[in-house]
Subunit: 269 residues, 2 copies
């Protein structure tokens, strides 16, 4: 799922830490990280030990600690999965919850007027991090999911976020690896730079079959009242028929609506 | 937010544990728990120490561990809040994510046909735990939120979940405290027992002004293919005008749709 590792998060695993230098806290966190990189809906104790480099006996003890709190849950098949208490605490994270709450009515409008996947994403650790995804029955197959990360250069929301990032962030991103997912993925740094300039001037990003075959995306920036881009909203449609001007307008309206609502919240407390 | 403490979760705080008997893991978890009971969007180190009974110097050290991983984040004002890494990992909890993903298209249909708050909740630790909430611009003010808990006897989804729980769970719930939130809250165990029987026979719960003034709720059970109730779906409307038969039918249709989709998923893998 991760396009680029988020280097700030210390999830590099065993190689980066001699085992004995990691304290209990770091080992507990490494066990959670084992479920996300790459994503695993459940793991055996042995798999957790392999992914973390933590000795099996220690894994056993720390998994028991997580399980007693509810951060992990033992399944009927004996494997372990992330637990409901972790979900319950995690969804209360104010950054994600506040933005989602303010944005939701506008995302619902956008869903209702298009019936396509609706995405809300922020820039985080060099990735597009998906805060929300609304979908109906008929929406095209996509790989995005809430809490998932996708690369900036190959997604609509990612291009919008990158286009409006600081020169430093753009520079660093374009200097890094730019994987090609499909023949149409733009991976040339100079071409991407021109594309980002176009997105900034038009206030919208359009892309087609650059991440998932058969799907297109239209994305627009959400600005707070200082004008800073804090998030991006998109719809993902089938490539055929081509996204319509009305759909593009609906994405712009939703992005502006969220931005106005953010400003209002900030201004009034 | 919690109507009843979820006694299985070991979140009773300092009183239950002599401080020195708690290991590093239990203390780390207690620090997260401090943000949820009662919910606090941010806390000072001193407030965390007070809520957990952990000495301030230890709080300082453990908060630094959480912050370095991203489970807590230091705000500009020096207070701490739950962090984005915790959100990112928490939303990947399969129990919540799978049910939400399967249910979402039906919840969207229900939202679109009613434009009221749409709730998806499960029974957890004697509470209704809200897995999803969709809302538009005009929806009535309610106190539910994703990840929040509300009491079973005073919410539509809660009554549906309680009505379809085991006799043991019903017995235990009705023997416990049944707080009255508004004059119309039903708190008499015998009257509640008759109400639960009515909900089981009608397959729907209706309530009005029992939790929040001015709001009514219609809720229906979601059954898996074995017939077991695994969740409940509801809409929350204004009390005036009264919810319509069409709205009631829309709630039933959504609940059946999710149930069928759950069965299909289980049957096909």
């Amino acid at each position: 799922m991760s396009g680029k590792p988020a280097q700030s998060r210390g999830t590099e695993g065993a190689a980066a830490f001699p085992v004995d230098d990691r304290g209990v806290a770091a080992r507990l966190f490494a066990i959670l990280d084992a479920f996300t990189a790459p994503p695993a809906s459940s793991l055996t104790l042995t798999a957790i030990a392999q992914r973390t480099g933590i000795p099996l006996t220690t894994v056993h003890r720390l998994v028991r600690e997580w399980t007693s709190w509810g951060g992990l849950a033992r399944q009927e098949d004996g494997r372990y999965a992330l637990g409901m208490r972790l979900w319950e605490v995690g969804v209360q994270t104010p950054t994600a919850r506040n933005l989602r709450t303010i944005a939701l009515p506008y995302l619902e409008d956008l869903y209702e007027s298009t019936h396509e996947h609706v995405h809300l994403a922020i820039l985080d650790g060099g990735d597009a991090l998906y805060l929300e995804k609304l979908s109906g029955h008929q929406a095209v197959r996509v790989i995005s999911r809430v809490g998932g990360r996708l690369p900036l250069h190959a997604t609509g929301v990612g291009l919008v976020l990158l286009a409006n990032a600081s020169n430093e962030v753009i520079q660093e991103y374009l200097a890094g690896p730019l994987p090609r997912f499909l023949p149409q993925t733009v991976t040339d740094p100079e071409e991407l730079r021109r594309r980002l300039a176009g997105i900034r001037s038009q206030g919208i990003a359009r892309m087609s079959e650059e991440m998932t075959a058969g799907s297109s995306s239209i994305a627009a920036p959400i600005r707070d009242r200082t004008g800073q881009v804090v998030a991006a909203v998109s719809i993902v449609t089938r490539t055929t028929p081509r996204p319509s001007p009305e759909q593009e307008q609906a994405v712009r309206v939703a992005a502006h609506g969220v931005g106005r609502a953010l400003g209002y919240r900030r201004a009034t407390g």
